[in-house]
Amino acid sequence: MESDHVRSLPEELERKDRKTKMEKDIAVLGVGAHPWGKFKDKDFVDLAVIAANEAFKDAGMGWKDIQAMVCAETVWSGKSGLYAGQFVSRALGSTGIPAVNIQNGCASGAVALAIAAMMIKSGMCDIALAVGGDVSPEGFLPALAGEDPLSPDSLRFTAIGATNPVHWALDCRRRMEEYGTTEAHLAKVKVKNSKYGSSNPLARYRKVFTLEEVLNSAVVCYPLRLYEICATSDGGGAVILSSMEVARRYTSRPVILAAATLGNLVYGDPTVQIGSHVAYKVNSSVPMASEVVQSSRKAYEEAGIGPEELDFAELPDNSSWHELMYMEALGFCGPGEAEHLLDDGATELGGKLPINASGGFASFGEAVAAQGLLQVYEIVRQLRGAAGPRQVEGAKVGFGQVYGAQGNAGTVIVKK
């Protein structure tokens, strides 16, 4: 007798048929964001709600039109932050729709978006909201209570004293040794991003830095200087997705989510990863930032394009080193070539592939739960031609990448 879990052949064929009929294209109907900064009178719920309300207005709909919600968690607000979706739902008015909480570190915003897209693709719903708000502690991100004393995330504090920037500095010094990256290269990334942040009304920092100012700033952990490491901020972001069929009821020119993919660390990754390891491979066939390689390669495949077809990109410049290394990890250029592209102006507005025309983490600081959604906000504004003085000419295909501690990553590709 057949056991229950074995499907019969007709059932299997019917399942495959349903899958091919599934909506392939997902539309981005609306985006919203609360400016980045430090707001003593606002908690993460307030920031998320303000962003969501802007997204509803942008999409021409209301909260009651949302059929499912995916909310990026924050670990900085106790249990409320872990139940972020329920807290945000209650603030908007509980309608009983599914609200999923996402914890993937600093990749949570992009992961929330990917899960919302999957909900629509699966046929579970037609309209979904991805949202996140965060209130970050000042200074170095601290440990949490209750950690296993033998976990790498404990030992890095108790036995070593390795802050997040230490990890980046260790890889960055090695990069200088191997590829000849200079202190000026690191400073240049900040200078470029600060130029763009100065004309972004959402950005926390609006000062345009000179090379000298960055190079004269205090060394935090060599080779990384104060102005080459992003701050931590409060912020909120929201994105409304729908099936293409539903999108056409709201707009005649929907912007398309061509890819929203996830990735995780691969065993043997030689990158000095935060929180998951205190010992790392030396000789390895696994590429650096393997989680980012995983998510981005899947994104190129899902969108049916290669990196050469991107018009602009938003990268996670937690430090200047990141922007350089990520250009290579994402396949924008070969190993050791990132500095040349930077020197040639290829990653500036007007160049072949503007990077962080938003101003990047350099101008915003990082609000963990919301950052990935902020990138989508920027990408959509660029595609609509609404980026003002920071407009990427002829923007048609935009790329966003975030990564998080413990080897999390999320990639988005949005096109029109």
């Binding site: 440990a143 033998l150 036995a159 070593i160 090695r174 935090v220 065993y267 000095v272 010992a279 491979k281």
Partner: protein, 145 residues
């Protein structure tokens, strides 16, 4: 005359202590030969053909400096050690680069590739006057003490 302070490890099971020749405690998979630090409960290599037994092993005490940096600002709690502090990655023959504080050296004397050796040294003194010790690396000394 001062009696020597009691020394306790910052975490149990990460290095042998007390010991005249302390070592980091790691694991090695009997099947695929991969090494892990700190100790692992099972093989973390997804390509291990057998997900075999991991056995506790003592890691090499000597290696080469892979990279280093000086942290100028105080790390957040629960860190209780000195500030500023030097942190490096030391490459061991087990194909692992181990993170740890660097000691007995000035930043200007450090060079990528130099020989380093493991030591166990004071991190801070606790409320009961005991020295809490951790693993560190120092430039390899010619001739043992």
């Amino acid at each position: 005359m001062d009696s020597p302070k009691e020394q306790i490890p910052v975490a149990e099971g990460v290095f042998t202590w007390p010991s005249d020749e302390p070592c980091l405690i790691g694991s090695r998979c009997e099947t695929c030969g991969e090494h892990f630090f700190p100790r692992a409960k099972s093989c973390q290599n997804p390509d291990c053909p057998d997900k075999g037994d991991v056995k506790e092993v003592l890691l090499s005490r000597n290696g080469k400096l892979w990279s280093y940096t000086v942290q100028h600002y105080a790390p957040p709690p629960p860190y209780r050690g000195p500030v500023p502090l030097t942190i490096g990655l030391v490459e061991l023959p087990e194909n692992l680069k181990i993170m740890g504080q660097l000691t007995d050296c000035r930043e200007e004397d450090l060079k990528i590739g130099m020989d380093m050796e493991l030591v166990i040294e004071k991190l801070f003194e606790d409320e009961e006057g005991r020295e809490v010790v951790t693993w560190k690396f120092r430039p390899a000394q010619a001739g043992k003490k």
